[in-house]
């Protein structure tokens, strides 16, 4: 009698949402790497950077904003840990992470208004062009991540949020938080 072979066992190592988000984050990391690459080559070709006739970027004020974004990442990590133990305990840190993220984007918008008023526009120079392209691309990602975080928070309040839903949102937010210090150091300093 022929021996019956057991079917191969398939494990779900990570939720599908996490896997999809990891692939998405890898592609987005390459988008930012391409922008950084173009920026560094143009910056390296210039004799003086930033151009003398262009307004200076508010590095000190943005450092505070950077700290707010980093804090939001840490608070969201804390919210994820709290979610594992007691979902009720995750509400406050997640609300704080969301508020800090919204503060970051709001502050960026205020900064843009100031800079446009001072004459730094998309077409005023390559400095302006790269600034709005790189920081704007990050801002778009931040807005999308805030929307995802708000969706997760709504689910948490309604008691319907699962870990499989929260984990991809966390990964996306960590990406937005993680890429910003690199952009800040390259563009602002």
């Amino acid at each position: 009698m022929a021996k019956v072979q057991p079917l191969p066992v398939r494990y779900q190592i990570v939720p599908h949402g996490v896997m999809g988000m990891l692939i998405f984050v890898v592609t987005e990391a390459m988008l930012f790497a391409g922008l950084i690459s173009a920026f560094l080559i143009v910056k390296g070709a210039a004799s003086v950077w930033p151009p003398p006739d262009q307004p200076r970027l508010p590095a000190e004020a943005t450092a505070v904003n950077t700290a707010a974004l980093l804090l939001s990442g840490a608070v969201l990590f804390w919210a994820g840990r709290a979610f594992d133990r007691d979902r009720e305990a995750a509400k406050r840190p997640m609300a704080a992470a969301l508020a800090l993220g919204m503060f970051f984007v709001g502050f960026q918008g205020y900064e843009w208004v100031q800079l446009i008023g001072q004459g730094l526009t998309l077409t005023s120079s390559t400095h302006g062009g790269f600034f709005y392209l790189i920081v704007g691309t990050h801002g778009l990602h931040a807005v999308a991540a805030i929307a995802a975080l708000a969706w997760a928070f709504r689910g948490l309040l309604a008691g319907t949020l699962t870990y499989q839903q929260l984990a991809p949102v966390q990964i996306f937010w960590y990406f937005v938080v993680g890429v910003w210090p690199v952009l800040y150091m390259l563009v602002y300093l």
């Binding site: 066992v9 494990y11 779900q12 190592i13 990570v14 939720p15 996490v18 990891l22 692939i23 890898v26 990391a29 390459m30 790497a33 391409g34 950084i36 690459s37 560094l40 080559i41 910056k43 390296g44 070709a45 870990y163 499989q164 984990a167």
Partner: protein
């Protein structure tokens, strides 16, 4: 002359022609006219764009493998059923 041999023959001649005039086939767009800083940035960013995807994909594969080994070890230790339900806790991070 047979097809593959003819292609190889042509490629050999093309390679020799390219080797005879390297400036024409130089891939570096800033190596001829750019500044020293520009050249360094070009090389650094080329390295970044080459190794970053390899590192990211390698990191994801390494993380998944570590997660798989951790789950397998846990399964052996706890003596839980071999086929976990689709929505089991072991499917979470």
């Amino acid at each position: 002359m047979a097809g593959p041999r003819r292609i190889l023959h042509r490629l050999t001649w093309l390679g020799l022609a390219m080797g005879a005039s390297p400036s024409v086939v130089l891939a570096c767009s800033v190596c001829q006219g750019g500044t020293a800083d520009n050249r360094i940035e070009f090389i650094l960013t080329t390295a970044l764009l080459t190794f970053l995807p390899l590192g990211l994909i390698g990191g994801v594969i390494f993380g998944l493998r570590r997660r798989y080994l951790s789950l397998a070890q846990q399964e052996t230790r706890d003596d839980v059923p071999r086929i976990p339900p689709r929505d089991s806790a072991s499917a979470t991070l």
